[in-house]
Symmetry: C2
């Protein structure tokens, strides 16, 4: 990152099993060149990201203006045993990870953060969800009914529109883009690959972007939103589109 | 049901904790007038619907031509403890049920049924999922990648298009209809209320149906698909639309 400042930026992973250490490490690295955000699982061991022990990390991220990307994670052992057994080993693993479980885990983690009042306390904090929102967008009408009991300052749907960015994670699928735009705005969607599993090619990107009629919308999705979220200068990255 | 055969039909709930008893009860009731399907949770105690102990019930349903409606269910105790704790009691309950957990449970149950090869063994069996498909449709691109490891005769996306009906469960939301039609066909969507929680009114139904330009599509969604699935005569029910 230091060697190629015009091409690379960094997300930090923190030692979340040591919350005080995680805060110290975040504050140390925030002053290093190139840090633009945090990548975290939604749970460390049995402790969810929204647990009060992580309040310091969350507050530091908000204070430093660093978004938190919530990366999917294999379900906890009790959830795997209760929900994902009964198949051959590879099918069990696929069901618990890329085919279903990863996305339930990440979606649950984000929804817990919201329900815990994280964005009432830190209205400026941004999180990023991959895979078109890890099912939160599609379920938004139901999820938002939680607002009636969760005692938050804002509706959950408003938190999702104002505190959550959505990354495509390599799935450049026009039907998912159309659907996402029914629930959130074009300012919230980030073009992203899923390296090394899915390497986006120029043609694939172009064909996808062309499904948006407005050139300004295309520019936002391709790089503008990421620049704004990550605090990059307009000319800072030569090839955000391909990153 | 016997008293108002022109207005009411029945779904049966079975004693799934006693699989042999469930088969016997299903066969007994299948000969009673008015039975058109089965309503089941996706799990009985710790035993998922796809468990081999339920093969007899599944085979009987398929043989009798009775669709299985998978009703959402509160997550198992280990899942609730692992994923839905840390809030006040009412928020915990909402998160584990109507706001999120119910739908993950029902979606997981349906996906497990598919992954277990149920529809390879019974290609004529139909299941019904409420709430616009319990997240399976939105996640279909990811879910379908499980086909590469699950060793099934057909792709999972094909099973979802050919063996799954989708009920609206009271949420007459044009954006969800548009989205569902991106993943499955108009022949698979059933207009339904969510009595007594959500009682559909005539105006709400009409406004929703009018978002479909084709009158034939409106007729399918309003009652034709349900008549076909449940084996009802065209004139059998006077008011399927309002049911």
């Amino acid at each position: 990152v230091a060697r190629f400042p015009d091409r690379l930026r960094a997300l930090i992973t923190l030692p979340m099993s040591d919350p005080a250490g995680a805060v110290a490490e975040l504050e140390r690295c925030a002053s290093l060149p190139g840090l633009v955000g945090i990548m975290s699982y939604g749970r460390s061991g049995d402790t969810p990201l929204d647990d009060p022990v992580n309040d310091g990390v969350i507050a530091a991220a908000a204070h430093l203006g660093l978004p938190i990307f919530i990366h999917p994670q294999i379900p906890s052992a009790p959830v795997r045993d209760a929900a994902y057994r009964g198949f051959d080993a590879i099918t069990e693993l696929g069901l618990a990870t890329f085919g279903w479980g990863w996305h339930l885990e990440a979606g649950t983690a984000a929804l817990r953060l919201i329900a815990r009042g994280t964005f009432d306390r830190h209205p400026e904090l941004q999180i990023v969800l991959g895979h078109w929102g890890e099912m939160l967008l599609f379920a938004l009408d139901r999820i938002d009914s939680l607002s009636n009991v969760a005692g938050l300052d804002r509706r959950i749907a408003d938190c999702i529109r104002e505190n959550v960015h959505i990354a495509t994670s390599g799935r450049l699928t026009p039907r998912l883009l159309r659907h996402a735009l029914d629930f959130t705005s074009i300012d919230r969607i980030l073009l992203s690959g899923d390296y090394p599993f899915h390497r986006l090619g120029t043609e694939e990107i172009s064909a996808f972007l062309e499904t948006l009629p407005d050139p300004l919308d295309r520019a936002k999705l391709a790089s503008g939103n990421a620049r704004a979220l990550l605090g990059l200068e307009p000319d800072d990255l030569r090839a955000t589109v391909a990153s």
